[in-house]
């Protein structure tokens, strides 16, 4: 069984092994023992609530309980941009118009901004290739929404997720080649590496401070603004299902989109419900139709040892039936409270 759980101090070695499998473009998960150790320490302190909420970094790992192996990782950063500036481009509009000669030109611009400072960030999602089947990706990604729904007071109102931007098969980033290269005079991979070691803001300081007209960029660079990396497209769809949307902020290097949402408007906030573990009464005739229940995300309600699984059960009258193995995976017992959320949005929410 796969369980997503709060990371623990002794996960470091397994995490490192996994990080070695992540390619370039994912800036927050680099195989660097020192960096990972530091990050893990913060994560452990976050779940223990020994540091301030805005400094917290909740990391989750997906563990295969059959083998003890780590299958994936994801994280929620309490707030971004409070230690060093958090930069994005905001896509803006400037209208150049002259009544006199009847010309009206609408120009898209890129403004270097720190607008998203202080937002809670979903980040560091990585699923091992061996586990990229079935609902595993959804389980891993959506676990964070259940966590937020269980502990909304820990987060700021604005939630963001930076998506990896478009790259050609060769790894070339058309946006970077069209813009950043002129200002940094270094390769994308190098910039990427510097970003990973926390030097993104230094690099950003080399960016032009004045707004840029998009029309000056080469066509291939213009086309990929707000476009995700092919391998990131499914992840983007998942987040959009949960209530995140693109609102015109992009990464300064590869122009990958930043998805945003208000925490209070997340599907998990609206639709997740608390239930208690228990036997559900035999379904009556009407409910018998639900022979094959929708997959259900089920988590426990403990902050320090948050755990979540995917179950094929359905909550009935505030109770949810879990097998012994499932209860074990969630470290809960009969009568304990659990939070549940259907894995997929209901097709018709009014039924």
């Amino acid at each position: 069984m796969l369980v997503v759980r709060a990371i623990q101090a002794d996960d470091l070695d397994a995490l490192y092994v996994m990080a070695t499998q992540v390619g370039s473009g994912m800036t927050t998960l680099k195989p660097d023992m020192k960096m990972m150790g530091d990050r893990l320490a913060i994560a452990v302190a976050s779940f223990a609530e020994t540091i301030a909420p805005e400094k917290r970094d909740y990391m989750f790992v997906m563990e295969d309980t059959d083998t003890g192996r780590l299958a994936g990782v994801c994280a929620i950063k309490g707030a971004v941009g409070l230690n060093e500036p958090f930069y994005n481009y905001r896509i803006g509009t400037l209208v150049h118009s002259s009544r006199e000669i009847d010309v009206f030109t609408r120009m898209e611009t890129l403004y270097l901004s720190n607008d998203l400072t202080g937002s809670t960030e979903l980040c560091s999602l990585f699923l091992h290739p061996d586990y990229r089947t079935g609902n595993n990706g959804k389980l891993l990604s959506k676990s964070r929404f259940l966590f937020i729904a269980q502990f909304p007071h820990l987060f700021t109102e604005k939630l963001i997720a930076e998506m990896r931007g478009y790259q050609e098969e060769s790894g070339r980033s058309p946006f970077y080649e069209g813009l950043g290269r002129h200002f940094f005079k270094m390769d994308f991979d190098h910039v990427d590496a510097l970003t990973a070691v926390g030097k993104k803001s230094f690099i950003a300081e080399l960016m032009p401070r004045q707004p840029l007209y998009v029309a000056y960029l080469p066509d291939d660079a213009q086309e990929v603004i707000g476009k995700v990396h092919t391998s990131t497209a499914p992840a983007r769809r998942l987040l959009e299902q949960e209530g995140l949307y693109f609102e015109g902020y992009v990464d300064i290097f590869d122009a990958g989109p930043v998805l945003q949402a208000r925490v209070s408007e997340l599907r998990a906030m609206r639709d997740s419900v608390l239930a208690h573990v228990g036997t559900t009464v035999a379904p009556d005739a009407a409910c018998a139709a639900v022979a094959d229940p929708e997959p259900l995300l089920v988590s426990n309600t403990a902050l320090h040892d948050f755990r979540m699984i995917l179950s094929q059960t359905a909550p009935v009258n505030g109770a949810v039936a879990l097998s012994a193995a499932e209860q074990d995976a969630l470290r809960c017992a009969d009568g304990d409270a659990v939070r549940t959320l259907s894995l997929n949005p209901r097709k018709n929410p009014h039924v």
């Binding site: 150049h96 030109t105 230094f202 007209y213 000056y216």
Partner: protein, 345 residues
């Protein structure tokens, strides 16, 4: 002999003929008789005006071949560019990008729309006929404008600039325009120049042109290559003006990217080298002095009777008078003993 003198109403036919020479992208003279007439009248009024402070005056000089009374060239100077508005240009900026932490330091070239040239005196409309290209007369014509400014400094600014036409292709397209102005104006280069009448002081420039710096590395190669490049027709003017002391690197035209030369008057040879001398009639020019003669541009010393010619005479640095043949005095419309301005050519 040639003389440079203020334009007169009688010159209109000759100017109309000059203006008819087709040169796409190059603005020397207005194309219609009506506008040429307005320019001539403006010039006559400007020369006649009592000026306290430079404003809308425009002075148009012509190069006349006295042998056949033909007009061989024109040159104009506006007292204050952009009067009635603002003169817009792109300033060449260098933005230093430094990151101590990353040990990176390099510079980025950017163009910024600016109005700094507003109020400068502007040289323009320089044109000489085929026959006079590259001659001393062409140099005289170009320089005569500045000699007039030496004579009447209160009519001009302390700073001068000259926009020169940028490169265009045979079809009248401009690579610089296509990369920049076209995106905002949504029209062809020549259409835009027609719409704006060659002016650089119209409100619509503020409305349409980019408010933020244009980062040069983002422009296509042909547009970058066109920046600061002159149209072949402007080479003569460019050479004369850089020899005069004008500098080409600071500003370019917002439409075609052509260079805008500019200078403070103290760095211009006409100002630093102008000598004021009393003219006398030289009875026999051949006899004067043992040194080889020096070629001078000589203008009359009267603001309201401005004329300039070329004359060869002995070096004037150590003299108080300049001996000139009687016909030169006559051409300058001055008498024995009057003051003249002399500049080595």
């Amino acid at each position: 002999m040639y003389v440079v003198r203020p334009v007169e109403l009688a010159d209109i036919d000759a100017l109309e003929a000059l203006a008819a020479v087709p040169m796409p992208g190059v603005h020397t003279l207005p194309k219609t008789r009506e506008k040429i007439l307005a320019m001539i009248e403006g010039s006559i009024a400007s020369f006649a005006a009592q000026v306290d402070i430079a404003s809308e005056e425009s002075y148009l000089l012509v190069l006349e071949n006295l042998a056949d009374r033909s007009i061989a060239g024109t040159a104009a100077i506006f007292a204050a560019a952009g009067s009635n508005g603002t003169y817009f240009s792109f300033r060449n900026d260098v933005i230093q990008q430094v990151s101590r932490d990353l040990n990176i330091s390099h510079s980025v070239h950017a163009l910024t729309l600016c109005s700094e040239l507003t109020g400068y005196s502007q040289l323009s409309s320089f044109y000489v006929g085929e026959r006079e290209q590259g001659t001393a007369e062409a140099a005289l014509l170009s320089r005569a404008r500045l000699m007039f400014a030496v004579l009447a400094p209160h009519r001009f600014s302390d700073r001068f600039f000259v926009p020169l036409a940028g490169v265009t292709d045979p079809g009248g397209g401009s690579p610089f325009w296509d990369a920049l102005g076209r995106k905002f104006f949504q029209m062809d280069f020549l259409d835009a120049e027609r719409v704006i009448g060659g002016a650089r002081n119209r409100t619509l420039i503020v409305e349409l042109m980019p408010h933020y710096p244009v980062y040069v590395p983002l422009l296509p190669g042909d547009a970058q290559a066109a920046m600061g490049q002159i149209h072949p027709s402007g080479e003569l003017a460019f050479n004369l003006l850089t020899a005069e002391g004008f500098e080409a690197d600071d500003y370019i035209d917002i439409f075609d990217g052509g260079p805008i030369l500019q200078a403070h008057k103290n760095s211009l040879r006409t100002f630093t080298g102008a000598l004021q001398r009393r003219a006398t009639v030289a009875l026999d020019a051949r006899d004067r002095g043992r040194e080889p003669p020096v070629r001078y541009a000589i203008s009359s010393g009267f603001e309201h009777n401005f004329r300039a010619v070329i004359a060869d005479c002995a070096a004037l640095e150590a003299q108080v008078t300049v001996g000139l043949p009687a016909e030169v005095l006559e051409t300058l419309n001055i008498a024995d003993g009057d003051t003249v301005i002399c500049v080595r050519l």
